[in-house]
Protein backbone atom coordinates (compact mmCIF):
# COMPACT_ATOMS: atom_id res chain seq x y z
CA UNK A 1 0.00 0.00 0.00
CA UNK A 2 1.13 3.52 -0.75
CA UNK A 3 -0.26 7.04 -1.11
CA UNK A 4 1.11 9.70 -3.42
CA UNK A 5 -0.04 13.26 -4.17
CA UNK A 6 1.05 15.13 -7.29
CA UNK A 7 0.12 18.49 -8.76
CA UNK A 8 -0.35 19.95 -12.23
CA UNK A 9 -1.49 23.28 -13.68
CA UNK A 10 -4.14 24.01 -16.30
CA UNK A 11 -4.27 27.32 -18.15
CA UNK A 12 -7.82 28.48 -18.81
CA UNK A 13 -9.06 31.16 -21.20
CA UNK A 14 -12.62 31.86 -20.17
CA UNK A 15 -15.71 30.00 -18.96
CA UNK A 16 -15.68 26.45 -20.30
CA UNK A 17 -14.95 22.80 -19.53
CA UNK A 18 -11.28 21.77 -19.89
CA UNK A 19 -10.69 18.02 -20.04
CA UNK A 20 -8.06 16.69 -17.64
CA UNK A 21 -8.69 12.93 -17.92
CA UNK A 22 -5.29 12.21 -19.47
CA UNK A 23 -3.44 14.23 -16.84
CA UNK A 24 -5.23 12.31 -14.06
CA UNK A 25 -4.54 8.95 -15.73
CA UNK A 26 -0.90 9.94 -15.96
CA UNK A 27 -0.82 10.58 -12.19
CA UNK A 28 -2.29 7.11 -11.57
CA UNK A 29 0.33 5.48 -13.79
CA UNK A 30 3.16 7.52 -12.25
CA UNK A 31 2.08 6.35 -8.80
CA UNK A 32 2.29 2.75 -9.99
CA UNK A 33 -0.98 1.80 -8.30
CA UNK A 34 -3.12 -1.08 -9.59
CA UNK A 35 -5.97 -1.16 -7.05
CA UNK A 36 -7.08 1.87 -5.09
CA UNK A 37 -8.66 5.32 -5.35
CA UNK A 38 -7.75 8.55 -7.15
CA UNK A 39 -8.84 11.85 -5.57
CA UNK A 40 -8.81 14.87 -7.90
CA UNK A 41 -8.99 18.22 -6.11
CA UNK A 42 -9.08 21.78 -7.49
CA UNK A 43 -7.37 24.32 -5.23
CA UNK A 44 -9.66 27.27 -6.08
CA UNK A 45 -13.08 28.70 -5.16
CA UNK A 46 -14.00 30.13 -8.58
CA UNK A 47 -13.39 26.96 -10.61
CA UNK A 48 -14.67 23.45 -9.97
CA UNK A 49 -14.63 19.86 -11.25
CA UNK A 50 -17.20 17.72 -13.01
CA UNK A 51 -17.28 14.30 -14.59
CA UNK A 52 -19.20 14.88 -17.81
CA UNK A 53 -20.15 13.45 -21.21
CA UNK A 54 -16.99 13.32 -23.32
CA UNK A 55 -18.32 12.68 -26.83
CA UNK A 56 -20.55 15.51 -28.06
CA UNK A 57 -19.39 19.16 -27.81
CA UNK A 58 -23.03 20.28 -27.95
CA UNK A 59 -23.56 18.80 -24.47
CA UNK A 60 -20.83 21.09 -23.13
CA UNK A 61 -22.36 24.12 -24.85
CA UNK A 62 -25.80 23.31 -23.40
CA UNK A 63 -24.30 22.92 -19.93
CA UNK A 64 -22.57 26.30 -20.13
CA UNK A 65 -25.77 27.99 -21.32
CA UNK A 66 -27.73 26.34 -18.51
CA UNK A 67 -25.32 27.64 -15.86
CA UNK A 68 -25.52 31.17 -17.31
CA UNK A 69 -29.27 30.97 -16.80
CA UNK A 70 -29.21 29.21 -13.42
CA UNK A 71 -26.67 31.62 -11.89
CA UNK A 72 -27.10 34.81 -13.93
CA UNK A 73 -24.55 37.57 -13.66
CA UNK A 74 -27.15 40.34 -13.77
CA UNK A 75 -30.06 38.92 -11.83
CA UNK A 76 -29.30 39.17 -8.12
CA UNK A 77 -28.11 42.03 -5.99
CA UNK A 78 -24.74 40.43 -5.31
CA UNK A 79 -22.59 42.32 -2.78
CA UNK A 80 -19.39 40.34 -3.41
CA UNK A 81 -18.49 41.90 -6.78
CA UNK A 82 -15.01 43.31 -6.20
CA UNK A 83 -13.58 41.30 -9.08
CA UNK A 84 -16.48 41.92 -11.47
CA UNK A 85 -19.88 40.46 -12.35
CA UNK A 86 -18.40 36.94 -12.70
CA UNK A 87 -16.94 37.01 -9.15
CA UNK A 88 -19.85 35.87 -6.99
CA UNK A 89 -21.39 33.74 -9.75
CA UNK A 90 -18.13 31.78 -9.85
CA UNK A 91 -18.31 30.91 -6.17
CA UNK A 92 -21.96 29.84 -6.48
CA UNK A 93 -21.34 27.72 -9.59
CA UNK A 94 -18.50 26.01 -7.73
CA UNK A 95 -20.83 25.14 -4.84
CA UNK A 96 -23.36 23.68 -7.32
CA UNK A 97 -20.72 21.44 -8.93
CA UNK A 98 -17.72 19.87 -7.12
CA UNK A 99 -14.35 20.65 -5.62
CA UNK A 100 -13.19 17.02 -5.72
CA UNK A 101 -13.93 13.96 -7.81
CA UNK A 102 -13.04 10.53 -6.40
CA UNK A 103 -12.64 7.63 -8.81
CA UNK A 104 -11.79 4.00 -7.97
CA UNK A 105 -8.74 2.53 -9.73
CA UNK A 106 -8.81 -1.11 -10.81
CA UNK A 107 -6.22 -3.06 -12.83
CA UNK A 108 -4.19 0.15 -13.07
CA UNK A 109 -6.98 2.17 -14.70
CA UNK A 110 -9.58 4.69 -13.53
CA UNK A 111 -12.93 2.86 -13.66
CA UNK A 112 -14.52 5.64 -15.75
CA UNK A 113 -17.48 4.63 -17.90
CA UNK A 114 -17.28 4.82 -21.69
CA UNK A 115 -18.68 8.35 -21.91
CA UNK A 116 -17.15 9.84 -18.76
CA UNK A 117 -14.39 12.43 -18.87
CA UNK A 118 -12.94 14.47 -15.98
CA UNK A 119 -13.18 18.24 -16.52
CA UNK A 120 -12.04 21.44 -14.90
CA UNK A 121 -15.07 23.76 -14.90
CA UNK A 122 -13.78 27.34 -15.22
CA UNK A 123 -16.21 30.02 -14.04
CA UNK A 124 -14.14 33.18 -14.64
CA UNK A 125 -13.97 35.15 -17.87
CA UNK A 126 -10.30 36.19 -17.60
CA UNK A 127 -7.41 33.74 -18.22
CA UNK A 128 -6.33 31.85 -15.11
CA UNK A 129 -3.75 29.24 -14.15
CA UNK A 130 -5.51 26.57 -12.07
CA UNK A 131 -3.75 24.03 -9.88
CA UNK A 132 -5.06 20.48 -9.54
CA UNK A 133 -3.92 18.03 -6.83
CA UNK A 134 -4.25 14.29 -7.47
CA UNK A 135 -3.81 11.77 -4.68
CA UNK A 136 -3.60 8.08 -5.52
CA UNK A 137 -3.84 5.61 -2.64
CA UNK A 138 -3.71 1.81 -3.00
CA UNK A 139 -1.27 -0.91 -3.96
Amino acid sequence: MKSQTSFFDISTHGKSLYEITLEVEHCVQAAGIHEGVATVFVRHTSASLVIFENADPSATQDLLRYFEKLVPEDDLGYVHTLEGPDDMTSHIRMVLSRTSEVIPVSRGRLVLGTWQGIYLFEHRRAPHKRQIAVNVTGF
Copy 2:
Protein backbone atom coordinates in the same frame (compact mmCIF):
# COMPACT_ATOMS: atom_id res chain seq x y z
CA MET B 1 -4.19 -2.30 4.89
CA LYS B 2 -5.91 -3.32 1.70
CA SER B 3 -7.96 -1.84 -1.14
CA GLN B 4 -10.65 -3.67 -3.08
CA THR B 5 -12.98 -2.56 -5.87
CA SER B 6 -16.16 -4.44 -6.74
CA PHE B 7 -19.02 -3.77 -9.16
CA PHE B 8 -22.76 -4.33 -9.22
CA ASP B 9 -25.62 -3.45 -11.57
CA ILE B 10 -28.93 -1.74 -10.84
CA SER B 11 -31.89 -1.95 -13.23
CA THR B 12 -33.86 1.28 -13.39
CA HIS B 13 -37.33 1.89 -14.81
CA GLY B 14 -37.64 5.65 -15.13
CA LYS B 15 -36.68 8.80 -13.24
CA SER B 16 -36.48 8.08 -9.53
CA LEU B 17 -34.21 7.36 -6.57
CA TYR B 18 -33.15 3.70 -6.18
CA GLU B 19 -31.68 2.81 -2.79
CA ILE B 20 -28.33 1.00 -2.89
CA THR B 21 -27.33 1.22 0.78
CA LEU B 22 -27.52 -2.55 1.34
CA GLU B 23 -25.46 -3.30 -1.78
CA VAL B 24 -22.75 -0.86 -0.62
CA GLU B 25 -22.76 -2.30 2.91
CA HIS B 26 -22.37 -5.74 1.38
CA CYS B 27 -19.25 -4.57 -0.51
CA VAL B 28 -17.77 -3.24 2.76
CA GLN B 29 -18.41 -6.56 4.52
CA ALA B 30 -17.08 -8.58 1.59
CA ALA B 31 -13.86 -6.54 1.66
CA GLY B 32 -13.49 -7.39 5.35
CA ILE B 33 -12.48 -3.85 6.26
CA HIS B 34 -13.08 -2.45 9.76
CA GLU B 35 -11.56 1.04 9.51
CA GLY B 36 -11.30 2.93 6.24
CA VAL B 37 -13.27 4.60 3.47
CA ALA B 38 -15.86 3.41 0.94
CA THR B 39 -16.03 5.21 -2.44
CA VAL B 40 -19.25 4.66 -4.40
CA PHE B 41 -18.99 5.66 -8.09
CA VAL B 42 -21.61 5.57 -10.86
CA ARG B 43 -20.12 4.88 -14.32
CA HIS B 44 -22.63 6.98 -16.29
CA THR B 45 -23.28 10.61 -17.27
CA SER B 46 -27.09 10.51 -17.23
CA ALA B 47 -27.51 9.04 -13.75
CA SER B 48 -25.94 10.18 -10.49
CA LEU B 49 -25.68 9.48 -6.77
CA VAL B 50 -27.09 11.18 -3.69
CA ILE B 51 -27.19 10.50 0.00
CA PHE B 52 -30.76 11.34 0.94
CA GLU B 53 -33.47 11.04 3.59
CA ASN B 54 -34.46 7.36 3.85
CA ALA B 55 -37.65 7.46 5.90
CA ASP B 56 -40.42 9.39 4.14
CA PRO B 57 -41.30 8.65 0.48
CA SER B 58 -42.83 12.12 0.18
CA ALA B 59 -39.32 13.62 0.43
CA THR B 60 -38.28 11.65 -2.66
CA GLN B 61 -41.38 12.78 -4.56
CA ASP B 62 -40.71 16.41 -3.64
CA LEU B 63 -37.08 16.08 -4.77
CA LEU B 64 -38.12 14.62 -8.14
CA ARG B 65 -40.66 17.40 -8.67
CA TYR B 66 -38.07 20.03 -7.74
CA PHE B 67 -35.58 18.70 -10.31
CA GLU B 68 -38.28 18.69 -13.02
CA LYS B 69 -38.76 22.37 -12.31
CA LEU B 70 -35.07 23.27 -11.85
CA VAL B 71 -33.97 21.54 -15.07
CA PRO B 72 -37.11 21.52 -17.23
CA GLU B 73 -37.25 19.40 -20.35
CA ASP B 74 -39.10 22.05 -22.37
CA ASP B 75 -37.62 25.30 -21.18
CA LEU B 76 -34.23 25.82 -22.81
CA GLY B 77 -33.14 25.59 -26.40
CA TYR B 78 -31.01 22.50 -25.81
CA VAL B 79 -28.94 21.43 -28.82
CA HIS B 80 -27.88 18.04 -27.38
CA THR B 81 -31.24 16.23 -27.85
CA LEU B 82 -30.32 13.23 -30.01
CA GLU B 83 -31.72 10.80 -27.43
CA GLY B 84 -34.84 12.83 -26.64
CA PRO B 85 -35.95 15.66 -24.34
CA ASP B 86 -34.52 13.87 -21.28
CA ASP B 87 -31.03 13.62 -22.82
CA MET B 88 -29.45 16.99 -21.96
CA THR B 89 -31.49 17.40 -18.78
CA SER B 90 -29.96 14.12 -17.55
CA HIS B 91 -26.42 15.42 -17.98
CA ILE B 92 -27.25 18.68 -16.18
CA ARG B 93 -29.02 16.93 -13.28
CA MET B 94 -25.97 14.71 -12.91
CA VAL B 95 -23.70 17.78 -12.64
CA LEU B 96 -26.01 19.26 -9.96
CA SER B 97 -25.85 16.10 -7.85
CA ARG B 98 -22.85 13.70 -7.59
CA THR B 99 -20.93 11.04 -9.48
CA SER B 100 -19.30 9.65 -6.33
CA GLU B 101 -20.17 9.46 -2.64
CA VAL B 102 -17.37 8.82 -0.14
CA ILE B 103 -18.27 7.45 3.29
CA PRO B 104 -15.92 6.63 6.17
CA VAL B 105 -16.09 3.08 7.54
CA SER B 106 -15.65 2.53 11.29
CA ARG B 107 -16.00 -0.70 13.28
CA GLY B 108 -16.91 -2.45 10.04
CA ARG B 109 -19.88 -0.18 9.26
CA LEU B 110 -20.51 2.83 7.04
CA VAL B 111 -20.81 5.82 9.39
CA LEU B 112 -24.16 6.86 7.85
CA GLY B 113 -26.44 8.91 10.07
CA THR B 114 -29.81 7.51 11.17
CA TRP B 115 -31.73 9.04 8.26
CA GLN B 116 -29.10 8.72 5.51
CA GLY B 117 -29.47 6.26 2.64
CA ILE B 118 -27.33 5.98 -0.50
CA TYR B 119 -29.32 6.30 -3.73
CA LEU B 120 -28.82 5.99 -7.45
CA PHE B 121 -30.51 9.03 -9.00
CA GLU B 122 -31.84 7.96 -12.43
CA HIS B 123 -32.47 10.84 -14.84
CA ARG B 124 -33.66 8.93 -17.95
CA ARG B 125 -37.25 7.90 -18.70
CA ALA B 126 -36.42 4.61 -20.43
CA PRO B 127 -35.25 1.50 -18.50
CA HIS B 128 -31.48 1.31 -18.05
CA LYS B 129 -28.94 -1.01 -16.47
CA ARG B 130 -26.54 1.11 -14.39
CA GLN B 131 -23.15 -0.05 -13.13
CA ILE B 132 -21.83 1.03 -9.74
CA ALA B 133 -18.19 0.63 -8.62
CA VAL B 134 -17.42 0.46 -4.90
CA ASN B 135 -13.87 0.73 -3.62
CA VAL B 136 -13.14 -0.01 0.02
CA THR B 137 -9.71 0.94 1.36
CA GLY B 138 -8.53 0.43 4.93
CA PHE B 139 -7.72 -2.42 7.32
Copy 3:
Protein backbone atom coordinates in the same frame (compact mmCIF):
# COMPACT_ATOMS: atom_id res chain seq x y z
CA MET C 1 -0.11 3.04 6.12
CA LYS C 2 -3.00 3.58 8.47
CA SER C 3 -6.61 4.73 8.48
CA GLN C 4 -8.34 6.53 11.33
CA THR C 5 -11.86 7.92 11.71
CA SER C 6 -12.74 10.51 14.33
CA PHE C 7 -15.91 12.48 15.09
CA PHE C 8 -16.73 15.96 16.34
CA ASP C 9 -19.91 17.98 16.88
CA ILE C 10 -20.81 21.47 15.69
CA SER C 11 -23.62 23.48 17.26
CA THR C 12 -25.53 25.55 14.72
CA HIS C 13 -27.95 28.42 15.28
CA GLY C 14 -29.76 28.89 12.01
CA LYS C 15 -29.04 28.82 8.28
CA SER C 16 -25.43 29.77 7.63
CA LEU C 17 -21.93 28.51 6.85
CA TYR C 18 -19.90 27.35 9.88
CA GLU C 19 -16.18 26.98 9.26
CA ILE C 20 -14.67 23.64 10.34
CA THR C 21 -11.25 23.88 8.68
CA LEU C 22 -9.36 23.95 12.00
CA GLU C 23 -11.28 20.96 13.35
CA VAL C 24 -10.47 18.94 10.22
CA GLU C 25 -6.80 19.95 10.33
CA HIS C 26 -6.72 18.83 13.95
CA CYS C 27 -8.01 15.40 12.91
CA VAL C 28 -5.23 15.13 10.31
CA GLN C 29 -2.59 16.04 12.86
CA ALA C 30 -4.03 13.70 15.49
CA ALA C 31 -3.89 10.84 12.96
CA GLY C 32 -0.19 11.61 12.42
CA ILE C 33 -0.49 11.22 8.64
CA HIS C 34 1.90 13.01 6.27
CA GLU C 35 0.73 11.75 2.86
CA GLY C 36 -2.81 10.61 2.19
CA VAL C 37 -6.43 11.71 1.98
CA ALA C 38 -8.90 13.26 4.42
CA THR C 39 -12.62 12.48 3.97
CA VAL C 40 -15.00 14.85 5.75
CA PHE C 41 -18.56 13.52 6.05
CA VAL C 42 -21.69 15.09 7.58
CA ARG C 43 -24.08 12.55 9.13
CA HIS C 44 -27.30 14.45 8.33
CA THR C 45 -29.73 15.03 5.46
CA SER C 46 -30.68 18.63 6.27
CA ALA C 47 -27.14 20.02 6.49
CA SER C 48 -24.29 19.66 4.01
CA LEU C 49 -20.65 20.53 3.35
CA VAL C 50 -18.97 22.99 1.00
CA ILE C 51 -15.47 24.21 0.38
CA PHE C 52 -15.92 27.95 -0.03
CA GLU C 53 -14.19 31.32 -0.16
CA ASN C 54 -12.81 32.06 3.32
CA ALA C 55 -11.90 35.74 3.14
CA ASP C 56 -14.93 37.95 2.49
CA PRO C 57 -18.10 37.55 4.60
CA SER C 58 -20.12 39.16 1.78
CA ALA C 59 -19.52 36.04 -0.34
CA THR C 60 -21.22 33.94 2.33
CA GLN C 61 -24.15 36.34 2.54
CA ASP C 62 -24.58 36.27 -1.25
CA LEU C 63 -24.47 32.46 -1.24
CA LEU C 64 -27.16 32.26 1.44
CA ARG C 65 -29.38 34.71 -0.45
CA TYR C 66 -28.87 32.74 -3.67
CA PHE C 67 -29.96 29.46 -2.04
CA GLU C 68 -33.08 31.16 -0.58
CA LYS C 69 -33.99 32.12 -4.13
CA LEU C 70 -32.96 28.84 -5.81
CA VAL C 71 -34.84 26.65 -3.31
CA PRO C 72 -37.59 28.93 -1.98
CA GLU C 73 -39.58 27.92 1.07
CA ASP C 74 -42.86 29.24 -0.30
CA ASP C 75 -42.69 28.48 -4.00
CA LEU C 76 -43.41 24.77 -4.53
CA GLY C 77 -46.19 22.56 -3.32
CA TYR C 78 -43.92 20.52 -1.07
CA VAL C 79 -45.60 17.53 0.55
CA HIS C 80 -42.75 16.73 2.97
CA THR C 81 -43.36 19.60 5.42
CA LEU C 82 -43.87 17.82 8.75
CA GLU C 83 -41.03 19.78 10.37
CA GLY C 84 -41.94 23.13 8.81
CA PRO C 85 -41.30 25.14 5.65
CA ASP C 86 -37.50 24.62 5.96
CA ASP C 87 -37.85 20.80 6.06
CA MET C 88 -37.97 19.85 2.37
CA THR C 89 -35.85 22.81 1.28
CA SER C 90 -33.10 21.52 3.59
CA HIS C 91 -33.03 18.13 1.87
CA ILE C 92 -32.93 19.73 -1.58
CA ARG C 93 -30.15 22.19 -0.64
CA MET C 94 -28.16 19.26 0.70
CA VAL C 95 -28.50 17.44 -2.64
CA LEU C 96 -27.32 20.57 -4.49
CA SER C 97 -24.20 20.87 -2.32
CA ARG C 98 -22.26 17.93 -0.79
CA THR C 99 -22.39 15.32 1.94
CA SER C 100 -18.63 14.68 1.83
CA GLU C 101 -15.52 16.66 0.92
CA VAL C 102 -12.32 14.75 0.12
CA ILE C 103 -9.01 16.60 0.37
CA PRO C 104 -5.53 15.23 -0.31
CA VAL C 105 -2.99 15.56 2.51
CA SER C 106 0.63 16.30 1.65
CA ARG C 107 3.54 17.01 4.01
CA GLY C 108 1.11 16.70 6.89
CA ARG C 109 -1.24 19.43 5.65
CA LEU C 110 -4.54 19.54 3.76
CA VAL C 111 -3.68 20.82 0.26
CA LEU C 112 -6.32 23.56 0.47
CA GLY C 113 -5.73 26.59 -1.75
CA THR C 114 -5.16 30.01 -0.20
CA TRP C 115 -8.82 31.02 -0.26
CA GLN C 116 -10.42 27.65 0.50
CA GLY C 117 -12.13 26.88 3.80
CA ILE C 118 -14.21 23.84 4.74
CA TYR C 119 -17.72 24.70 5.92
CA LEU C 120 -20.75 23.03 7.39
CA PHE C 121 -23.75 24.38 5.45
CA GLU C 122 -26.72 24.45 7.85
CA HIS C 123 -30.13 24.50 6.16
CA ARG C 124 -32.45 24.48 9.19
CA ARG C 125 -33.67 27.55 11.09
CA ALA C 126 -33.71 25.97 14.56
CA PRO C 127 -30.51 25.25 16.53
CA HIS C 128 -29.01 21.82 15.83
CA LYS C 129 -26.05 19.76 16.94
CA ARG C 130 -24.39 18.30 13.82
CA GLN C 131 -21.94 15.43 13.82
CA ILE C 132 -19.00 15.33 11.41
CA ALA C 133 -16.89 12.22 10.70
CA VAL C 134 -13.32 12.67 9.43
CA ASN C 135 -11.36 9.72 8.07
CA VAL C 136 -7.66 10.13 7.37
CA THR C 137 -5.93 7.39 5.38
CA GLY C 138 -2.26 7.37 4.41
CA PHE C 139 1.15 7.16 6.06
